[in-house]
């Protein structure tokens, strides 16, 4: 259960993030097991006593050396197998791709372009910018550029990025000026936005909700103030959203 000031993995919306979380937990399990053995052995080796003092007088023990060479090698092989599996599974593109979105990084905001194919096999779409909300007092009652009650400073935006739930899609990330990085930990996605290059990332969100993220590549003075908000909606809502704005 999350608490204020906690440092946990965020809630997972995709298989990429959930598998990364499971991988982390598996490795941490092995880590705790190894740490326990190491700390106990070191304590036995340093502190002498009636029962454990003999550990200080061992001069050679080839079997033990073989064990503490082979067991870490096996553990490392196991960890690497798990991480390779997660790595290659996360990079798979799930066919067919239902939607494409182009994300462009600027200093210091994001632009999202949506594209869909209609029944006539024509592309239709639109784009919008996404700015982080400011701390100033609102100038009017419907001022959408500043924080309203309950919003998070440096995390909420005026217009979030919308994607559908359960529909495989592809994100194409680019940049207009300097290198940025579009990163949403809850989706398990971190893609560098490099000027002059288009980076791809598959996405398949499994649950409805809102995910937060930040820019992860130093891009100037306001690098801290270009947040990302992803709204995962039902496919029906997504179609209404696309028809409304296109």
């Amino acid at each position: 259960m999350s608490q204020w000031g906690g440092t946990y993995y965020q809630m997972t919306f995709t298989s990429a993030s959930s598998m990364s979380k499971l991988l982390y937990e598996s490795i941490m399990n092995i880590n705790c097991f190894v740490m326990t053995i190491v700390v106990c052995s070191m304590t036995m080796a340093i502190w002498s006593g009636m029962l454990v003092g003999h550990c200080r007088k061992w001069l050679k023990y080839e079997l033990l050396e073989a064990i503490w060479t082979a067991v870490p090698a096996l553990l490392i092989w196991w960890i690497s197998s798990m991480s390779f599996f997660v790595l290659y599974t996360n990079a798979e593109h799930k066919e067919p791709t239902y939607f494409y979105s182009v994300i462009t990084g600027h200093q210091w905001y994001w632009t999202y372009q949506y594209a869909l194919v209609n029944e006539k096999k024509e592309f239709f779409g639109f784009e919008h910018d996404s700015y982080g909300l400011l701390l100033d007092e609102p100038s009017s009652s419907d001022d959408e550029t500043v924080l309203s009650k309950g919003d998070m400073y440096l995390m909420d935006v005026d217009l979030p990025f919308v994607i559908p739930q359960g529909m495989p899609g592809e994100l194409l990330v680019a940049s207009d000026d300097v290198i940025h990085s579009w990163s949403v930990p809850a989706l398990g996605i971190t893609v560098d936005a490099v000027p002059g290059r288009l980076n791809r990332s598959p996405i398949l969100a499994k649950t409805v909700g809102v995910a937060y993220g930040h820019c992860r590549e130093l891009c100037g003075v306001n690098h801290h103030a270009m947040p990302i908000v992803v709204e995962i909606v039902t496919p029906k809502t997504y179609m209404k959203f696309m028809e409304q704005d296109s």
């Binding site: 259960m1 999350s2 608490q3 965020q10 809630m11 002498s48 200080r56 007088k57 701390l135 100033d136 924080l147 009650k149 309950g150 919003d151 998070m152 400073y153 809850a186 649950t207 409805v208 909700g209 809102v210 995910a211 937060y212």
Partner: protein
């Protein structure tokens, strides 16, 4: 045989080398021998070694146990007695709990201790406490208690850690107070009413595994009855 050769010792370090220096004084040669002027042909190694042994005899071995070892290890241990095999047979003084009896005594024999060493050969009940202590210190550097006393490394580590931590905390507070204070406009986001609305948003958005308030009905927007 060449006569008139003078062997002059040349000292290099701790060993002496001998070279041959020619000396010509009324040397007459027959038709077979060729008069040689200058450096003679050097002697063989065997002849040189033999001459060295005759003119540089080794020091006589001292009487007593391990006299041969003492002779060999003088540069390592000096005049200290060898009293055991020690650790792996090396003549060193090592203090360790695992190997309690070092190979050599700690001190070299000095004139004041000689009568005590003779007295030690008799009945130990005749030795006083101070004499026993002197004999102990002659053989060992530290008592067991002195050896096992901790050096206070843990205290030094704690001092260093706490010092670093306090320096960091002081630096952080100075930075916040005078150099780059937190934005005062963000204070309203930390109030209870703002946080309450924020928590409701998190729950409605399915953003996080939030505990929520067990007494607040988030669906109806009122306190549970």
């Amino acid at each position: 045989m060449a006569s008139g050769l003078l062997r002059v010792p040349v000292i290099l370090g701790r060993r002496t080398l001998v070279t041959s220096v020619p000396r010509l004084s009324g040397v007459t040669t027959t038709g077979d021998e060729v008069p040689v002027v200058g450096i003679q042909v050097p002697v063989t190694e065997e002849e040189n070694s033999k001459w060295l042994l005759e003119n540089n005899p080794p020091a006589p071995a001292k009487k007593g146990r391990n006299a041969h070892l003492r002779e060999k290890l003088y540069t390592v241990i000096g005049n200290r007695d060898i009293v055991g095999p020690g650790v792996s047979g090396f003549a060193e003084y090592i203090e360790a709990e695992e190997f309690p009896f070092p190979a050599v005594r700690f001190m070299e024999p000095y004139p004041e201790i000689m009568p005590l060493l003779e007295k030690e050969k008799g009945d130990w009940k005749n030795l006083s406490i101070d004499e026993k202590k002197t004999l102990y210190r002659y053989s060992y550097r530290q008592t067991l208690k002195e050896e096992y006393t901790p050096e206070g490394l843990g205290k030094r580590l704690l001092i260093g850690t706490l010092f670093g931590l306090s320096c960091t905390m002081i630096y952080t507070q100075i930075t916040i107070d005078y150099i780059f204070p937190w934005d005062p406009r963000a204070a309203r986001t930390r109030q209870a009413d703002w946080q309450g609305v924020h928590l409701g948003k998190l729950i409605a958005q399915n953003t996080s595994y939030t505990p929520g308030d067990p007494y607040w009905d988030y669906d109806k927007g009122e306190w549970r009855k």
